[in-house]
Amino acid sequence: MTAPGAFAPLAELTPLMDKCVHCGFCLATCPSYVLLGQEMDSPRGRIYSLRAGVSDRLQLGPAVVQHFDTCLGCMACETACPSGVRYAPLIEAARAAIEQHHQRPSLDRWFRRLLFSVLPFPSRLRVMALPLAVLPALRQWRGLLSRLPSRLRNLIELAPTVTIAQAMAETPERTAAQGSLRLRVGLVTGCVQRAYFGEVNRATARVLSAEGCDVIAPRTQGCCGALSLHAGDPAGARQFARALIEIFERAGVDVVAVNAAGCGSALKEYGHLLRNDEQWSGRAAAFATKVRDVTEILAGLEPRAVRRSTPLRVAYHDACHLAHAQGVRAEPRRVLQSIPGVTIVPIGESEICCGSAGIFNLVQGEMAAELGRRKASHISEAEPDVVVTTNPGCILQIQAAARSRGDRYRVLHIVELLDTALDGPQTRP
């Protein structure tokens, strides 16, 4: 099962690895190092292994793979790194090499294949909504749960609670701006977001329109490719990317809004993803420059719509793919501050991941659950009424962790909170 020279193609990334001076500043914020306490499970250790792999001092095998699998891809290390090492391209390339050269145990392979054949496709996810409707009842049945295989149990613990009607609802393809037009915005509706968090997409459209944006959400769009990319399937990711670029080029928008941090970070890297594709590299780079997180757009527009006073203690959870991968930290807080009555309460250890990390909480359940517990206990200390964040994965993970602690705060997407403060539907708190 060992593959000599598997990391050899990474030689082109040597300049990126050479920037690492081995100072160890990344260890403190790396969730896998914090939990496991060993060098191999740290960014510094992984880069060291890659370097050794490139110079053929290290053979790819299960012992190596397991330590790359523990990486959540949260990119907290990039924030911490004083030397400006870019870890994302390194871990993506390493994962691609692993998937190409390393054969996982059959059960692992089967489970991953299942995830990738369902998650990126909203239509298939909707079919899954049928069994999901009975979930709340199932979760009560602890005896049965404890007897299920761990992977299945993780799925059940984490899965969102949705009604079939919610899952089937779509975001309007066009939402006209209220008042004078300020921006034409294309909305990426995502896959999991679209199927199970449709309300977030609709709230996004309403909020943007209230602030004077035309919102175009093409029905034909599919997955952005982030899941595939982060799991070592760049070819699949490229396919998704090309399709998405084409759709939004046709839509003719000024900016492309994303309300899922994980998708946003992948979209902003399309230029890098398609850099070797002659036909597409230019188009991809142009597209990437238009991509904004929805909070970036909102923070950039002087508030126009009147916000109702919403007296709540709000804890803002920094989604890793927004704070670390995209460097967006101030904007969401500014959006929250624009709502009168909101008190932002800080969460301890905010730079450490909640454990969601794409499909990480499905494939590395134990570690993810431990990180979830850690996050939830820090949130509890802040005693918030509401926790808001910007990524569906984080919402599910924090909800699951809060459920198991018995904490009662609600976990919302930031635009949902803003939506209720504007003249949106009065169904939310």
């Binding site: 081995h22 100072c23 403190a28 306490g37 060993q38 060098e39 400006g84």
Partner: protein, 842 residues
Amino acid sequence: MDAAFLRKLASALRPDALLHDATELLTYESDALQHLRATPGAVVLPTSVEEVQTVVRLCHESAVPFVARGHGTGLSGGALPRSDGVLIVLSRMRKILNVDIPNLRVTVEPGVTNLEITTRVSADGCYYAPDPSSQIVCSIGGNIAENSGGAHCLKYGFTVHHVLGVEAVLDVPGYDLLGVLVGSEGTLAVVTKATLRLLRRPAAVLTLLAGFNSTDEAGEAVSAIIAHGIVPAAIEMMDRLTIQAAEAAVHPGFPDTDAVLIVELDGPQAEVDERFATVQAVCRETGATSLELARDAATRDRIWKGRKAAFAAMGRVSPSYYVQDGVVPRTRLPEVLRRIRDLEARSGLRIGKLRRVDSRPGGARRERRRRNPAVLHRGWRHDHRRAWCRCRQEGLHAQDVRRDRSRRHATLAVRIRSDRHLQSGEGLPHAASLRRSARAVSAAPARTRRTGGSVLMTVLEPSNPHAAAALLAEAGRAGTSLRPRGSGSKQSWGDRPAGHERYLSTLQLSGPIHHYAGDLVATIPAGTTLATANVVLGRERQWLPLDPPFGDAATIGGIVATNDSGPRRHLHGAARDLIVGIEFALADGRIAKAGGRVVKNVAGYDLARLLCGSFGSLALITSATFKLAPVAPFSVTLSAEPQDAARACALALAVAAAPLTPSAIEVEAPSPRLLVRFETTEAAARQQAESARRLFDQAGAPACVHLDEDERTLWRLHERRVQEGGDVLFKVSVLPTDLASVFAQLDQTPASVTWCAAGRAALGLLLVRLAGAPEVLSDLVLRLRAHVASRGGHLVVLQSPPPVRARVDPWGELGHVSLMRAVKARFDPHNVLSPGCGPGGI
């Protein structure tokens, strides 16, 4: 790695605690000093003290070397593994075991990061003072092994000043083994638990960022600031290359100049304001091109983030680099910088310089090039050369110059090591240096004098260190013993076996005092009295901030040997906290030196600390070098008489917990009295006295204010209270919060006994004087010792009449006597020096 040994390890440990897969071991090849690497034979990741013990025991049995590692952020290769050894990685032992805010201490496991401690206690207004650049990730275990400093070490000292115990919690009498352990780079022990001192956050902090056109001008500014009698909390200098790297990394907004100086002042608001005006004026005079003031935490954080990222950000400037971490006397800095510039020009290497101008790294220099062995070697060679020609440089990290650094006390490094399993290869002296320092010392003629009455007492008075050493050697050959003696002010302290009356006096060892005012240090011969020394130092408005009893008569050698101190230990610490270097005569006739003129001794075991409090049982101290303090321009003392000692103690703790900087907090009994002294600028002293007075009033103990002659008389009487009269004198050391319980015990003394006590209320140190019938006194001392021991404290008897001494061991249970005996045997194998007089009766 031996397969049988690995099997033994595997069977003794949990499966996930042992790594031996080659691909996993690979990542442990080096710490942050990347160019020295070796793949460890095995890696062990213990989670408990027991596991560490198991591994160490197995290694010891099989003679396998082992190296300890924390989070691997050291820049000196302290965690460099051995391919035939075990790497014990303590990264999983990261529990904060106990936080004790009233007594200002915290107990942690070694893998806890430096910053975690401050984060944990900041809500209580406290912090952990040492703050190395890598504080977000470096471990306490590593800090202890390397005696880490950080930006604020000028004012607040190094790790060694903040570690209270490694298993023991209190001010432990006896040899300062802890002082030797700190900074021993893991060559003596693996730290499994540490108790650290916390500090209260100062009332005001001000940070100044000054830009200069050259490092020379910035250096001048530093000297001028010190000359004004100001010891800032931190002064740091960065040159253009490092400014650029920091800018690229964290955008701290440093000015675009050739040098920046970061000056931080902290303390009471009035003092900070007053001193800040001076610092600002000094910077302007010396040619500062820009001055930025950070009053708020956000700006200050930004500046420090820039400074602390500077090293790690070097990866942006060049992927290959070589780090040098050296210490030079402040006043020699311009000279050193000029030499570095010459070398830079000659070698074609780019050199970035970061300077902690105060004390420690005189220059953390980086030389960087592509990863190309040939070029790197060029770097190595010239570093080596520089190390050769600059004997002033006290210590240089890195393997190839390490030989040089241990030369000064190379033989001693070997002497106190029992075995070579620990961190093998580190700190080992070079054979050549062993030979060099082992040369014979020419015996100088010694003057002898006979004095005495009914008991014949021989006092040898050598006139120079060499003569003293020769006398020691001669005594060793003749099988006799000698007891070092200064002015004899504390001759009755400690144990004194009968019939032992040959003294070796240091009174003639009283040559000139070398006062390096610009560096705030002085080297003082052992025979000089403290009073004489302070007269000389006072000419530059500096002083050695020690105020032990008998200050007029006590000699420097005696104060160091007994680690004695007075009320102002509260602010300045004891002799062990101030000593930076020492020269001593060994029992075999050699003269040895340890430490130097710079505040941080990065070059091996801290023997100066080991000799502090050794009661002349290890070596004859011939001279010592100390960190000095500027003489405070103003002093004021408050006194109050609370109803009882318990209330006095509570009030003392309240004053200590307030954001004030008293130089002494003393409590007296049986007629309870509390004295609090403030020494700083006049405005600040008065302001603080006023705040303290309010605390006194709240406690219902109105304060009297003492100034000038009145104040001096007050303190003279306070000192005499305990030192004069009475039969038994002993010292108690407990947690500050337990002090009241000691007074409660004293209150129960029988009416036939008179007693008197005074001590450092916020440090938990008490001197007690008793008078009465010997049998009653013996019982009383033993009962008190039992009480103090039950609280984890110690009681040491300094003076007692023979009938009491017959029943009460002066030292009591010290717990680590066997280790101390081993140290004694290495220093003084023939038991020449003060036999029976050392700690624990050694």
